[in-house]
Point group: D2
Chain length 357, copies 4
């Protein structure tokens, strides 16, 4: 019953097997192998256009370097207050982008509100050097709250980006889960809506270590090989990432894994909705279920072996969580089983009923 | 006949198998898994003392962050002119250590000459703020020239480090090859001689991606978790590195692989010495053979399928390479076979004899 | 009628004269001159303890480098949402402190609220590497809203700093105005309350260019000469700053100038309170008057020669400014005259009465 | 008898007077005053084209930010081994340019040798990411050895810069001395020869604090206001720099001051050449005389009140200085008098003759 995070799962057998299959033989390092080159082509097909793809070792590196690639002196990046960039990357975005500032923008359920985005950007008028200059907008899909930007919502933000001459970055640590949930292709969820740079994460969806930065406009990535190298993210035996992606994208494995994770989340959500001892904080969009437990119930669930994290309630929902309650995040993955769900819901019923007596 | 570099090889079957074996089940990410913790203990045993170990994704990251961990404002690091830090890390050391300067020190065969080291340090007297302040010394074992620091040579440099209150870093991208060649244990080759921080590389010796920074004095690593995170090198599913190290260190696999690579280099060296069509540039210490070919011979070797790199001759050996010759580096690895060696030497004889007619 | 800012004024005649008097003769550069050394002693007396003093060229440099001196990897600085650090320093604090993050803390009238400060710090628990680590607290005295921290308010924040092992920095760009307004000595307003590092600004109070960083605990400034040099803030002919400070501190000139500026602000405030055509936004604490005008009145005041800036209303006072109104900042300085005030208030009466008809 | 450096002198009376004359009245800060604007125009005239001019507080800032403005990731700057950038700026160039590496190029008398420059650049071939990418060339005029690049020598370097698509920066800390010595106008010594960015120093030539970065192609300076602000070099009451430059450039004061300093150096050189107790190390080009003294003579000169620095002999002139000798630098300035020279030469004769007995 591990719902702590999708990076608690290991690697899917097909990913592991691909590492075995690629282990023998010599190949050029640093992204120059045939397999690396094939993957470049594979990404072109996936995104239905020529893109520039760069592998890095962590999702944080993907986000930070994607934004470093559009560095402007005194630069300011706009992202959601609850974004991974602001909440969980330990200052890497600021450090790796030479001191850019990351400005928190609000909006319900971890999605940037376009009106507030405009207001935030307006605080950095052109030529007003004291405030710094707007540099990029970053959105997360699926969001840190497990919700989804609908296509038109991305379009609205992209329009603001365009109007302000700002590149639009998407943190796609859970890109596959979002694509499956929305029924959109990679192209439809990114450049066709105005996304310029994507952090394409695969680690959370069944890989060991496979993160890519996808530039939708390759000419904007000319200097990126140097940026990646200077940040110590140019992987030596890079085919070890390439071969993970190869297996991940082959036969739509990536979509199957994400479908499974999402289905598990739906099943979990259904159980929560039905339960007398918990309630949803907001509807789950992909593979994360945010729900509210009585603190004692949560405590006992943990004691009985369930693993999950408590989350700080969003500041714009001050009444969401009552006294004696906590907000909890339950994350499913390719490795979550229906048995895990059933076991958890049964445990919830037992613990809850015992507690309510 | 691939002698381009040891990172052209893939991963040893036992490493690949370990990834398969570890792929299922849930485990805490970011270095908190049981396996990660076990590896910390395993490194303590390996180094015969309590050390602090941190995994990162690349050798460049290991070097750059090891040095960033001893950052001093206006800091200056002393390393060999031909070191990887200066020659092949794309500015990552400077960038990740907040602009430290890396000063080239000379010395034969890629080994820092202690006399020149002292002179170099003397150019940065204490309190002379204009020049910056000495911050660290870094040596490479085995060196970029495939040579070895003998224990007493390390001791001499460590004494200079101590006298100047400077930490001593060792770039051990080929640490295993050096340990085997010298017959020294990890402890004997590092802290017992005065090395404070080690980049312990395993990627070049049969792993997919396994690099560790080993702090010999754990109290000096207190801030390092933040340094690593801020540099985007905190691996998500870090047990994927831990399980490589687990297999690598189990049953002395790491020493076997390095022994094999070194033996292949010895065999290659013997063939070069015997050959009428090549000569050694200097004796091979570990798994790299630097030799001199006629340019046309080298060209034909390549056309016949041999892979290797030409290297800029060291500036302190201006007469080493004559006109029409080139300096070539031949690297062996765990994956090099006696057949590879035999085939290459046979080819050299054929090509050489045809050329000399 | 210039109320745009106190840095629109030039230099007081005594400051200018000191530059003339010091212009001849040779003296050691880079802070080593006799005059520089005397000033170190002069600051010791001023602060009633041994302090370490460093001159820099701008107030932004003083703030940014003061905080860079307490750098921790992944560091987070807590400051008020309206602070100069966050609003007007163009990313210099982040850049010069290696990517530290500056977290906005709220509180009325530009003063950090201790309860909110505690909550903000609590979001960065020790050992939680993903969020970064708390590094410093910075307060501004007088604040950006022209208000003042009372001694007990500073004490309360210092207690939080101490409890969290965080250094407390004070941005004293208008330190003199605050000292005069509160009737506190430099010592009483800083280290006696728990302030560790002070940006001691003199430029806004009648100097040409005189900013100092004062470390209350000299042992914490050991590395600072290198930090300043590395940031290109070590002034060549530094006695030109020293001689400004010499005149500034001689015969309490600095307090006289600030007293005058404050008195002018009080007079202006009295006029605003009496006026039917404007109202105070909040009471003026030092030399800045924040008041609310009808937009058309403001526009006509400007057309008639009055100079001042409109300010974004603070987000925690959403009803402060009505439609058709604007929040305006009027800054007085050593150079403001009673005639300026009288002329402005007369103009306000004229313009206001014409507008209200 | 102060020959320590030209920044030991104070400020010329006309510079000091200009500060007095500008001290009253209100003016926009941060480079927006009328005087600041006039100076922009004045620089256009001086350079016979539209240039973009930015004031900063130190020569180190001018050099470091000039190069930061042409930042490329993994960037490498080529400069002379004895350049101020490498020898005396405490890591500011690396830090402020985000970790760029400064590569030492040799050449006689502190002037870059074009052949060696080409070789140095060739070590950073395009697309070879591991080494980093060439980013700029920087030369110093007059050089750190007090010598001068002749026009054709600058042309030769500019041709290499152009061939490699690299901007050419000139460190003009002693620009005036060079211009006077060569009889070249500012335009003739810079953009007409291919110089793209100039650090135009005035502090060493009679100002208190007046350094400017001059971009010969204003369109390349679009982002520079943000770079300067982010580096904390945007001066508050910037007219205090503008008014120094105003006086400096008015009636060719700058050329008069430099002419005087150069004439004093010539006189000093003549005396050294005539002296039996010293010899020139190489001919003086501008206002610095490098000569060789017996160590005991030097010691006694100092004891008798002469001030000067000993200099490390250049590595390419190993036989320049014999045992018991030292290389000494004597710097003249606008403030040096013929009496200073005469007194020094007399003292040298006395000390020397006493020593040689």
């Amino acid at each position: 019953m591990n719902f702590a995070s999708d990076n608690w799962a290991g690697a899917h057998p097909k990913i592991a097997q691909s590492l075995v299959d690629s282990a023998s033989g010599f190949a050029a390092p640093y992204g120059a192998s045939e397999l690396d080159q094939q993957l470049q082509q594979r990404f072109n097909e996936l995104f239905e256009r020529e893109v520039a793809v760069f592998f890095v070792a962590t999702g944080t590196a993907a986000n930070a370097l994607a934004l470093a690639s559009v560095y402007r002196p005194g630069g300011v990046v706009f992202c959601h207050r609850e974004s991974h960039l602001l909440e969980a990357e330990g200052g890497a975005p600021e450090f790796l982008s030479h001191g850019a500032r990351f400005v928190a923008v609000d909006g319900q359920f971890a999605k940037i509100d376009p009106v507030q985005l405009k207001q935030a950007i307006a605080r950095f008028p052109a030529e007003f050097v004291h405030a710094g200059q707007a540099m990029a907008i970053s959105i997360t899909q699926a969001t840190e709250a497990g919700t989804l930007y609908q296509a038109d919502e991305i379009l609205a933000i992209a329009a603001i980006a365009k109007a302000n001459n700002l590149p639009l970055h998407m943190d796609g640590a859970r890109f596959a889960n979002a694509a499956v949930a929305l029924g959109l292709t990679p192209a439809e969820m990114t450049w066709k809506l105005g996304v310029d740079i994507l952090s394409f994460g695969a680690t959370k969806n069944g890989c060991w270590c496979a993160e890519a930065i996808v530039f939708m406009h390759p000419q904007l990535a000319k200097a990126f090989p140097y940026i990646r190298k200077q940040a110590a993210q140019l992987i030596s035996k890079s085919r070890f990432i390439a071969c993970q992606f190869e297996a991940y994208l082959r036969d739509a494995l990536w979509l199957q894994l994400a479908s499974h994770a999402n289905a598990m989340a739906s099943r979990l959500q259904a159980g929560i909705i039905d339960s007398a001892y918990a309630r949803m904080a907001w509807p789950a969009g992909a593979n994360e279920v945010f729900c509210i437990f009585d603190q004692q119930v949560a405590e006992q669930l943990r004691q009985q072996g369930a693993q999950f994290y408590a989350i700080n309630p969003p500041s714009d929902l001050p009444n969401l969580v009552k006294e004696h309650e906590i907000l909890v995040r339950l994350v499913t993955s390719y490795a979550t089983t229906t048995e895990d769900i059933a076991q958890f819901l049964t445990l919830l019923a037992t613990v809850g009923s015992s507690h309510s007596q």
